[in-house]
């Protein structure tokens, strides 16, 4: 018998970012007992890093905005692979969720009239992002945290879930270890909300932290839930490229929203060269019109730097490959140039609008962005794919298991618009919390299967059995990241994807030989050894999905299939675990879109 402590709740929420906190608050408001579990300390989840803002059609800056336009923008950005019901709910409910944050103490930047200020972002027709300088995520997570701690939620910090426990078809709990002493915990639960975020650590160059090992995706998958659209991974066009140790750290799109331009080594603004068909006619003629747009001229159209992320990232890769890159393999992002327009006050303006970018470059790269251009290149940023959920309730294909935020699929389709994640977290976090509480009330509690608990406890301790003779888990992780970056990165092709799938087979074997030493007290080597299973699961799901989508769409770019395919416009990729334990990937027809929604899309073309 292994040793563990048991906790009992009606709802457990795994993850304390924006989605998890919002879900926990909602579930608690429904009067059930809620436990909130997170790998880091409270308030440190990824959400804290979000910079640019949160999209909602408040129409405070441009009164032509409304939920229909936001819906149409989201669908177009996602190249129409989005779950249209989620895109509808998201656009409709985001404004209320923003106002709710204000009611809980958030202090957004203001318009002259004293309302919440909104800024431009790629793919949004109007200034739509509520923000606080470039630290919007901090504002969101702190607001939810400071409100949440007074709602009777039990928080378990620095606790990592490594398996979902099942009773028949449904989930009934979770098995976890605590970082401090490595002790085991069993959480019994009526319903479970996954809010674990993304998978960026599967790649070498990423804006994501150690937490992003795809735990939620993998836990749900192994518990029998379907994943969806895992080929769609967003490479943000602007990550830092120099110095090497900060490669991948994000440079917010807000820089371009405030007028930042992209240039190559010849000083050319290369984004003007190629406008994708979906956006013809909605892009500025010349730099002058672009500048008018970012300074609020309603007649002007957006500069091409504010096209969707997939397009901008591909253009940057193309410039670099053509030998027109910056000294360290990126291109130039220049906000300092606005001094031509604003004169001496531009310095103050940049520091006020982009304070953390100013500090980040000053302190980490020795670059003063008010005077010099930045060097930037694509970085792995966000996963559109995730746990397949019902649009209204956020329940996965496993009864009692819900998902919200980055680990859930659907809202963003083939490409996410900037700012649509923070709003996603609160819109669907709330829904997941509400429906999970309801589910827990309506269904009798399940019972924990001891054999399952024993088996996972044994698996967790296996790295110690191998000890020093096992392989270094950090080495396996780093090799995997290199392989994924090379073969499943920003541009893909059949041969490399095939090699990736095969290569992953080897990595699975290596992961089983990973060893840990010393003891269970706060031991990152051991944690990394266990994380490998999740990383490999999401890597395999992404590689296999990318392999069978033989077209280029949104964030998924195939060298061997450079165009969109009408056939594949109709399908989502579904991933599930077969009874023999192997991974099954298939393309499944999408539900036909509701007529009224199709009309909104057509009217906004």
């Amino acid at each position: 018998m292994s040793d563990y402590q048991t906790h009992e709740y009606d709802v457990i929420v795994i993850g304390a970012g924006g989605a998890g906190l919002r879900a926990a608050i909602e579930a608690s408001a429904a009067g059930v007992r809620v436990g909130l579990i997170c790998k880091s300390l409270l308030g440190k989840a990824h959400t804290v890093m979000a910079e640019g803002g949160m999209a909602a059609s408040l129409a405070n800056v441009d009164n032509r905005d409304n939920w229909q336009v936001h819906f149409a923008d989201t669908m177009r950005g996602g190249q129409y692979l989005n779950n249209w019901r989620m895109a509808e709910l998201h656009a409709q409910e985001a404004p209320d969720r923003v106002r709710e944050l204000e009611a809980w103490g958030a202090v957004f930047d203001r318009t002259k009239q004293g309302r919440i200020l909104q800024r431009n972002f790629g793919g949004h027709a109007y200034p739509r992002l509520a923000h606080v300088g470039d630290r919007t995520g901090l504002e969101m997570i702190r607001t939810l945290q400071d409100h949440g701690i007074h709602q009777g939620i039990n928080v378990h910090m620095e606790v990592t879930v490594i398996e979902l426990l099942k009773d028949g078809d449904r989930v009934c709990g979770a098995f976890a270890y605590e970082r401090e002493h490595g002790r085991f915990h069993v959480f019994k639960a009526g319903a479970i909300v996954m809010a674990t975020g993304g998978i960026g650590r599967a790649f070498k160059i990423t804006s994501n932290s150690w937490e992003y090992t795809g735990d939620g995706h993998a836990l749900a998958y192994h518990a029998g839930a379907e994943l969806m659209d895992m080929e769609f991974i967003q490479f943000h066009p602007t990550g830092m490229v120099w110095p090497p140790s900060v490669k991948g750290i994000l440079v917010t799109e807000g820089v371009r929203g405030e007028g930042g331009i992209l240039t190559n080594s010849e000083g050319k603004r290369f984004m003007f060269e190629e406008i994708p068909p979906l956006y013809q006619g909605s892009c500025a003629e010349d730099p002058e019109e672009g500048w008018r747009y970012v300074t609020g001229d309603k007649e002007a159209r957006r500069p091409p730097e504010l096209l969707t992320r997939d397009h901008v990232a591909r253009k940057i890769v193309k410039e670099v490959k053509a030998g027109r890159g910056s000294p360290h393999g990126g291109v130039f992002l220049n906000i300092a140039w606005i001094s031509e327009k604003l004169g001496a006050k531009s310095e103050e303006h940049i520091k006020k609008k982009l304070p953390s970018m100013y500090h980040q470059f000053k302190e980490l790269a020795g670059v003063d962005i008010t005077k010099q251009p930045m060097e930037v290149g694509p970085t792995t940023h966000y996963v559109m794919g995730g746990i397949r959920v019902d649009g209204d309730s956020q329940m996965s294909t496993v009864p009692g298991l819900f998902a919200a935020g980055e680990c859930a699929a659907g809202l963003h389709g083939a490409n996410r618009l900037g700012g649509n994640s923070l709003s996603d977290l609160v819109v669907f976090g709330k829904r997941a919390g509400e429906y999970a509480a309801k589910w827990a009330k309506d269904n009798p509690a399940g019972s924990i299967n001891n054999d399952q608990v024993e088996a996972v406890a044994k698996w967790a301790l296996a790295p110690f059995d191998r000890g020093e003779s096992g392989e270094n888990p950090f080495k396996i992780q780093s090799d995997l990241q290199n392989m994924m970056q090379d073969k499943v990165g920003i541009v893909r092709e059949d041969k490399e994807l095939g090699e990736a799938v095969e290569g992953l087979g080897e990595f699975w074997k290596r992961a089983e030989k990973a060893g840990s030493d010393v003891n269970r007290d706060y031991n990152p080597g051991w944690h990394t050894a266990m994380d490998l299973k999740n990383l490999l699961t999401v890597s395999e799901a992404s590689a296999r999905s990318a392999h069978i989508r033989t077209e280029s769409r949104g964030a998924h770019t195939r060298l061997d299939f450079p165009d969109k395919s009408d056939e594949q416009a109709k399908v989502n990729t579904i991933i599930r675990k077969a009874p023999d334990g192997s991974m099954q990937v298939e393309q499944v027809n999408r539900a036909a879109i509701r007529e009224d929604l199709q009309k909104i899309i057509d009217e906004n073309k």
């Binding site: 890093m49 504002e139 702190r142 110095p243 750290i249 840990s516």
Partner: protein
């Protein structure tokens, strides 16, 4: 590539000690990179906290060459090259292991402070009107990333261990953000005076000096709170005025 020597505190309890490691360092590397490299090369069980690697989450607080710092924002090039880099955990809280301390006390203090209580919305959609000028001060406080470096250097906590009586600079900043929030209707002055003993602070400004978010903790948060307390509890003339003037 050049090599550098690092002395990192390892272990827990009485067993805590400095251990020496050598690793390659390249251009632009920060202290956290070196810790990760050492972890991957030779000390996989070396415990440390981090998340964002960009000074945004406040997880990686430590004492680098005796100075309270975010490891991810401290460049090796800025540290004297002729001596090893010493990395120790922050000291105002109990050690867990290696570079990790038990900061849970901070979360308990925050829970005690009376939460935000807004006035009725100004608009029908449930929103409020606030001018940018009126929220700027609060926005300064809300930049806090809860790194607890200010708590680490405050002598009331670090040397006098008055954790049971004193909230520490972080939570005066938090309280100030609430007290000066244009929408808030709650009054926390008595709580700050009697339970939080803000009076123990003798304005040494050590906290302000280490804040990585450059929040002027003492001048903008603590001193105005102390003044408000004086006004409300100790100054008879103001007290008289108060009877006729609405709060805030």
């Amino acid at each position: 590539m050049a090599q550098r020597e690092f002395r990192i505190q390892r272990g827990s309890g009485d067993d805590a000690h400095l251990e020496t490691y050598t690793t390659d360092v390249g251009e632009g590397m920060v202290v956290l990179d070196a810790v990760h490299q050492i972890q991957a090369e030779s000390a996989p069980d070396l415990a440390c906290r981090w998340n964002c690697k960009a000074g945004k989450c406040g997880s990686c607080s430590a004492e680098v060459n005796g100075m309270p710092k975010l490891m991810c924002m401290t460049r090796l090039e800025d540290l004297p090259e002729d001596q090893p880099v010493t990395i120790e955990p922050i000291r105002a809280f109990p050690l867990m292991r290696d570079l990790v301390t038990d900061v849970s006390w901070n979360f308990r203090v925050k829970e005690k402070i009376k939460p935000f209580a807004p006035r009725k919305p100004d608009n029908e959609d449930g929103s409020w009107n606030m001018q940018q000028d009126d929220v700027e001060r609060v926005q300064e406080f809300r930049k806090c990333i809860e790194c607890f470096l200010c708590q680490d250097v405050c002598h009331v906590l670090r040397d006098h261990h008055l954790h049971d009586e004193f909230y520490g600079p972080r939570f005066y900043v938090y309280s100030a953000a609430l007290e000066m929030h244009p929408l808030d209707t709650e009054n926390r002055l008595e709580q700050l005076k009697d339970d939080g003993n803000i009076g123990y602070c003798n304005i040494t400004k050590c906290c302000t000096k280490v804040c990585p978010e450059h929040i002027t903790i003492t001048d903008n948060a603590i001193i105005p709170l102390k003044e408000r307390i004086v006004d409300e509890y100790y100054d008879p003339i103001t007290k008289l005025f108060k009877m006729f003037k609405p709060k805030k």
